[in-house]
Symmetry: C2
């Protein structure tokens, strides 16, 4: 069996324009996919094909597919869906999915769609819309099963058996008071293995802290990971049970965070097949910032006009020193960013990290200084030049270690995302220090 | 409630050397943590403190903590644990965890530890050790509950109730033949809501394809995500049920992949608090490669000796053009890497992506050419120089788009990880093209 490569082939056939598939053939391929696979096909399509595929997706699947798409593509498709259609499409979705989609819309469009819903749905959704997208409240669903503490296990079992089916990922039910206050929880497997004559109160677990509705979604994913949760209760500040969060939504949070970290390092925020104008816009800010800082580095070079005019080889070699600093700084920056993301770095271990980075810079500085010195000597046959570039390299690697540690930490303290602004700042530092150290030493020893 | 910041405080207190905690105070803090939190504390500690903390962790928790640690730190701690101790520590772990730890050990040490186990355990572990770490087989656990198709739901319920407790994350049980062949599965919630007089055969689901033991772990995580699974059966090529994979292990795979992608882009593979010598070693290869390619760029500059000696400002401005190309190429590379990782890019949509990147390069080229031209003119008051640097920038941005697309795709075709080698190759291309286009145009128009 090789499910994945079958899927890949289907996708490739689907997107191959030269295959010239008929509408019915495409529909046939789409009908074999579940909503997540359909969403993946849309995400793998250039904009034009994407619209075609979307138009051929079965109406009843549209809501689930829309919910599975990334924010960028959701926004794009939402432009082509009428309000009537949208309110119908979303009606069958889970609460967190509806909220996620509505949050993509402009205020007045969102209100119009809410207006088309039943007042019960509207109230429920409006309550959920209060929460920021990246809070526990933004992830919660209200499809919980809750029971009272005094019931016997047998009563609970009978109650469950009377249901047509239980909500997806129901691995536990929650125990609440008459006022809906969270008292504890009871895992389904515990229910299955307990004496049916015991009461819920006697069997339930009470040592699990439920998630608070205003907790950050990254905290939620940490809690799920550390405790291997499948679902967790969400309560408000008065401990009233609001709903639950399930692992499938947490996996989405984890994937999205990783994606943003990766793209953030390159200063972009776009989906893979975004049309050129939008993709260009997503990248131009970062490029412009780099242009300005590159001119800062150029101004540094300009200071050394005298020595550069005298010793031409310095111009040839100066980008080598700058480039090495840039790479080393990016390495330190990446380690620090990862440590910050995983919440491993705090004030008590920062000094170790700083000393460690200095030590790494010096160790690699010695190795690479030899290498750069040898190559330079082999090329130019000038021992002074070789020693000088070696010294400049060590200086620049040390500066890269210092910048790589402190730039992200300072950016974070000023509430900036270090993944996004970090790289441009550290490479500016290493460019400037690289040029100053190399050309400065050149001025001293070669003029 | 704010669990996370409480935890963070505990960690910070724990690692704060100036707090001068007594051994008993540290033990008190550690005793309040679960195994995942203990593992996080170890991962957040510099090596010396890490050894101290490890020595203070309760013996009964050592196995779980070890299993929760990253590979690098596992290896480090394993050096200090005797074979007797280790075989005892791992004995209570799940199969995939034991295998994961044993795979860190040198061959002969692994054999000695296996020799200390009961022959039943040894056989079970040796069978699991056959699988590569990144295959479905490497993730599987044998703690499955399986039933026969002809039993009634009532019999199954009674069987389950006779168990002390069910394995963690049991959301379904598997239906097998007398020869242990996989026939279907039965979710626990379905079991709870079904008529107890029906047979397993009548209620079980048969349209779910189980995972094959030699499937890649990334395929497994895609299947879990797309189908919102909590657990899945794993079978061999004859459809014999081998065990199951659970979502907690899949979350670890997702996190690890994301981590490797992020670190790979910077050419490193290390844990956050790795001692300096190991950290330096993890980074020096990439730095050396960059040194060699930087000299390639320097050799390009050297070709233009005549014009550089004549027109000093070219030396000042040339790093600007090269740097812009490097940033633009990294942006394209990142988008392509992400598309490859998410399996969105294939032969049928590659040509769109290529044309899109060209369009983005030209669009941003126009915007940035104006900016770079203006700044250059403002600085040097030389219209030819301004036009020339603008043209060189456009050329280099176009080359960055082409390199950013094709380098990762070609690397992947040659079975190299594009995340690791990609960045050094594309920036070399843009450095070289940047210098040639700018200095080449300079030679033509300024000499």
């Amino acid at each position: 069996m090789n499910q994945e490569s079958d899927k890949k082939d289907t996708l490739e056939i689907l997107l191959d324009e030269s295959a010239n598939l008929s509408i019915n053939q495409i529909k046939g391929l789409l009908d074999k996919m579940n909503s997540a696979e359909l969403a993946h096909s849309l995400e793998s399509s250039p904009p034009k094909q994407r619209k075609l595929l979307w138009s051929l997706i079965d109406n009843k699947d549209e809501g689930d597919v829309l919910a599975d798409l990334g924010d960028e593509i959701q926004q794009e498709l939402l432009l082509d869906i009428s309000n009537e259609e949208l309110s119908e499409i979303v009606s069958d979705l889970e609460l967190d999915e509806i909220v996620d989609i509505l949050q993509q819309l402009p205020e007045n469009r969102m209100k119009m769609i809410l207006g088309k819903m039943s007042s019960r749905d509207r109230t429920r959704i409006e309550q959920a819309l209060i929460y920021p997208e990246d809070s526990a409240g933004g992830l919660l669903n209200t499809d919980v099963i809750s029971v009272r503490p005094n019931h016997s296990i047998e009563v609970v079992m009978n109650y469950l058996r009377a249901q047509d089916e239980l909500p997806k990922n129901t691995d536990k039910i929650f125990v609440v008071s008459a006022e809906d206050l969270y008292l504890g929880e009871l895992s389904i497997t515990k229910l299955l293995t307990s004496d049916v004559n015991l009461t819920v109160k006697e069997v339930m677990e009470t040592d699990i802290t439920p998630i608070n509705d205003n907790q950050d979604d990254k905290e939620v994913s940490t809690l799920f990971e550390r405790n291997d949760l499948v679902s967790s209760a969400v309560v408000d500040k008065n401990k009233k049970l609001l709903g639950r969060i399930t692992i499938d939504d947490v996996v989405d949070v984890i994937k999205e965070d990783a994606d943003q970290n990766l793209l953030g390092m390159a200063g972009i925020a776009e989906d893979t097949f975004q049309p050129p104008a939008r993709a260009a816009r997503s990248r131009v800010f970062w490029l412009s910032m780099n242009l300005l800082t590159a001119f800062l580095a150029a101004m540094t070079i300009n200071i050394f006009e005298d020595v550069l005019k005298e010793v031409f080889f310095l111009a040839v070699l100066m980008p080598v020193v700058a480039s090495m600093g840039g790479v080393a700084a990016t390495q330190t920056l990446t380690i620090v960013l990862r440590g910050l993301t995983l919440e491993q770095i705090n004030s008590s271990n920062l000094s170790y990290l700083f000393k460690r980075e200095l030590a790494v810079s010096i160790l690699n500085g010695i190795v690479l200084a030899n290498l750069i010195g040898l190559i330079t000597f082999a090329w130019f046959g000038d021992i002074t030049l070789a020693l000088l570039i070696s010294a400049a390299l060590v200086i620049n690697l040390i500066s890269s270690g210092i910048a790589g540690i402190f730039v992200p930490i300072i950016l974070r303290r000023f509430k900036q995302d270090p993944a996004i602004a970090g790289s441009v700042v550290v490479t500016t530092v290493t460019d400037v220090v690289g040029f100053i150290s190399f050309l400065g030493l050149g001025t001293i020893f070669l003029l």
